[in-house]
């Protein structure tokens, strides 16, 4: 009994809990930066650690030691709380993703809904952060983040319902388990995978959907006023979101930790997660930024009908 409690505690704190997830966040920030840099014919991080591997961590430490400025007119409580919200939300959601075996740390019927809900709450937190910092650029950035969410959230949720309908469950762990016996959903629902990928680019505010923090238009958007420790936490939160996005894609469409038995499931998961993150990074290097109205029009005109089409196909085709 005590042993079990200790093991589950270790799982939550170390592996595959907080420590692992945060290290993964730093690692995948490096993967993302290095990959995009190579695509753009640059070097990317180079000096800290082997091939710049420790650069994200060094950036984090540096930001922690910087001066933390709170604007005079800001709502101090909310302004300080937002980085903590934004850090804890993707961590919570990641606990629902099966990493070492086909059952997640937290798994119940309906955790898919919880994860989708959390991705929405992240944007609401962004808006609260932008609003409480009372900066003009932040306000515009926050409003853009919310508008963007109104666009991509619907097709993303509809597309994510596809695997759930086929597996007849709303639990991510059970969807993963279904895929160990059946086909991976990327083969049966490629359209859904594409839609979710595009929506995650918007969720992560990456090019071509980095509208809320378009540097040349609104400085740093909703991030403008955050500095020091808060900015460090926010950047870590963004990395965690990247890991979350990759994990959801890997779990729902690539079968999560399922794979051939010559490698442990955990390794399969890492490989799939890396592939998903490389897809996101590759897309980031391919496009120019859209305008907010172009994003909304595109999402409502094309993505939402396509997501609905995917659901119809799921209903028509028995697998």
């Amino acid at each position: 009994m005590v042993q079990e409690a200790i093991i589950s505690l270790l799982q939550i704190v170390i592996f595959p809990g907080f420590l692992f997830l945060i290290l993964a966040a730093f690692f995948y920030e490096w993967v993302d930066r290095k990959f995009v840099a190579r695509l753009q014919n640059r070097y990317g991080p180079l000096h800290t650690g082997p091939r710049g591997l420790l650069q994200p961590f060094a950036d984090f430490l540096k930001l922690l030691s910087k001066e933390d400025i709170i604007p005079y007119a800001a709502d101090k409580l909310l302004f300080s709380a937002v980085p903590i919200f934004l850090l804890s939300l993707p961590l919570t959601a990641l606990f629902c993703i099966p990493i070492i075996n086909s059952t997640a740390l937290i798994s119940f019927e309906g955790d898919l809904i919880l994860v989708i809900f959390i991705t929405t709450i992240i944007v609401i937190s962004v808006f609260i952060g932008a609003w409480s910092s009372t900066n003009r650029f932040s306000t515009v950035g926050g409003m853009r983040a919310c508008l963007q969410m109104l666009g991509y959230e619907i097709p993303m949720t509809i597309a994510m319902a596809g695997p759930a309908i086929v597996a007849k469950t709303l639990s991510i762990s059970k969807i993963v388990q279904w895929q160990t016996t059946g086909l991976w959903f990327i083969l049966t629902q490629p359209l859904g995978f594409i839609i979710v990928t595009i929506c995650f680019l918007a969720e992560l505010q990456k090019i071509p959907f980095d509208i809320p923090k378009a540097e040349t238009e609104v400085v740093a958007g909703w991030l403008t006023e955050f500095s020091g420790k808060k900015l460090a936490l926010l950047r870590l939160a963004e990395d965690l979101e990247l890991v979350l996005a990759g994990s959801i894609m890997a779990s729902l469409y690539l079968g999560g930790p399922a794979g051939f038995s010559f490698m442990p499931p955990f390794v399969w998961f890492i490989i799939k997660l890396t592939v998903c993150i490389l897809i996101l990074s590759n897309l980031r290097a391919l496009f120019a930024r859209f305008r907010i109205d172009q994003l909304m029009r595109g999402v409502w005109k094309y993505l939402t009908p396509l997501a609905l089409l995917q659901i119809i196909l799921v209903e028509l085709i028995p697998w």
Binding site: Q40, R136, P208, E215, T216, E217, L286, A288, R291, D293
Partner: protein, 391 residues
């Protein structure tokens, strides 16, 4: 209307590489009105020119602008040479032309990178700036410097082009021309670039003429006006070339115009290198310039560059005036911005290829009665002394 927010754009802003302030009145995401406020980079160059000799002025003129330094010195040396009634040797004229065109290639590559950055296309930005290194290396090979080439002298040029340098330039511009054709294809094919540039920052032909736009901005509004063709200087009267125009009147046309100009420049450089006349590259000139009033025009990469010189028979000019292309394009810029989106502001401003340090003048605006007046340096100095005595 209470929903109108005033958004300051600059003087410090990531989209602006130089200090300039635009006060935008926005309604939601739409721009209702814009007021530019110039003068942040005023350096008093025109006044300083009057205190220096013509030789010293050459170096100061070079530093009006970092990118089109050669265009400014060409304009200046032309004015002084005309006042001196000196004929520059044809070889020097050809070398000037070659450097001018290399500078145009440099500027347009630089500009394309900035445009890509403004619309968030980081990959294109990195690629164009990588290729820009080629032209900067060529300029270094030719003149010894990467940015401030200092090729012009009054009466000629400073360095000659040897056959080895000539073949290296030939090789370099071939690569640059091919890369630019590739970028032009990207800019006319890529959906995201088209979405951000077509029908953005419209400047109709009529407006472009009435607001005195110059350079590629004007030519993208389908007006065939180019100092190189209309009032040939250096060796342009002997070199065949096309004036590139597009009729889209938007940012996409401005991109296409500049891409084609680079390809055209490559051809000009090739022709000039192949037909490089022999002879000396300089003539010895007098240091004292006889009294004259000269207007000199040069097609800088950004547009028509206009210099005015009044000499008084000494070795210093009595008045020198510079009208750089950005100042001419500023009124047209305001016209383009009104009615657009906030998100389009950076790309539209970048679309005219602004160079604020070239154009800043000292002008006072009284906010109470909207009076505007200009002061010369001496008057300002006296006013300053008086004002501080009162404190």
């Amino acid at each position: 209307m209470s929903s109108i927010i005033k958004i300051p754009f600059g003087p410090q802003h990531p989209a602006l590489k130089e200090p300039e302030n635009f006060m935008f009145k926005v309604d939601g995401e739409y721009v209702v009105d814009v007021t530019p406020r110039i003068g942040y980079a005023h350096r008093g160059i025109e006044k300083a020119l009057e205190d220096r000799t013509y030789i010293q002025d050459l170096y100061l003129i070079e530093r009006i602008c970092g990118i089109c330094s050669h265009a400014h010195t060409t304009c200046y040396t032309q004015a002084v040479e005309e006042a001196l009634k000196v004929d520059v040797p044809p070889r020097a004229k050809y070398i000037r032309t070659i450097v001018t065109e290399l500078e145009r290639i440099h500027n347009h590559y630089f500009w394309l990178g900035i445009v890509a950055h403004e619309i968030g296309f980081e990959t294109l930005f990195m690629y164009t700036w990588r290729d820009r290194e080629i032209v900067m290396d060529l300029l270094e090979l030719l003149s010894g410097n990467r940015v401030q080439y200092a090729m012009n002298m009054i009466g000629g040029v400073r360095r000659d082009i040897t056959p080895e340098i000539s073949s290296k330039i030939m090789k370099g511009v071939k690569v640059l021309g091919e890369r630019m054709k590739y970028y032009k294809k990207i800019c006319s094919d890529d959906k995201t670039i088209l979405a951000r540039s077509v029908n953005v920052g419209i400047l109709k032909t009529k407006d472009a003429i009435s607001l005195c736009a110059v350079g590629p901005t004007l030519r993208a509004s389908n007006v065939k006006r180019d100092v190189r063709a209309d009032d040939p200087y250096a060796a342009y009267d002997e070199i065949p070339f096309h004036v590139v125009t597009y009729d889209g009147c938007d940012v996409a046309s401005r991109i296409a115009t500049r891409c084609d100009e680079v390809i055209e420049s490559v051809e000009i450089i090739r022709y000039a290198l192949e037909h490089l006349p022999t002879g000396s590259i300089e003539v010895i000139v007098s240091r004292v310039v006889p009294p004259a009033e000269i207007i000199s025009r040069v097609e800088a990469p950004r547009g028509e560059n206009l210099h005015y010189l009044r000499s008084n028979g000494t070795d210093k000019p009595s008045r020198y005036k510079v009208r750089s292309p950005t100042l001419a394009n500023l009124t047209a810029l305001c016209k383009m911005l009104i009615g657009g989106y906030i998100a389009d502001i950076p790309i539209v401003i970048a679309g005219i290829d602004p160079c604020f340090c070239c154009m800043d003048r000292l002008t006072f605006v009284d906010i109470n009665n909207d009076e505007t007046w200009g002061w010369e340096g001496e008057k300002l100095r006296r006013y300053g002394i008086k004002w501080y005595k009162k404190q």
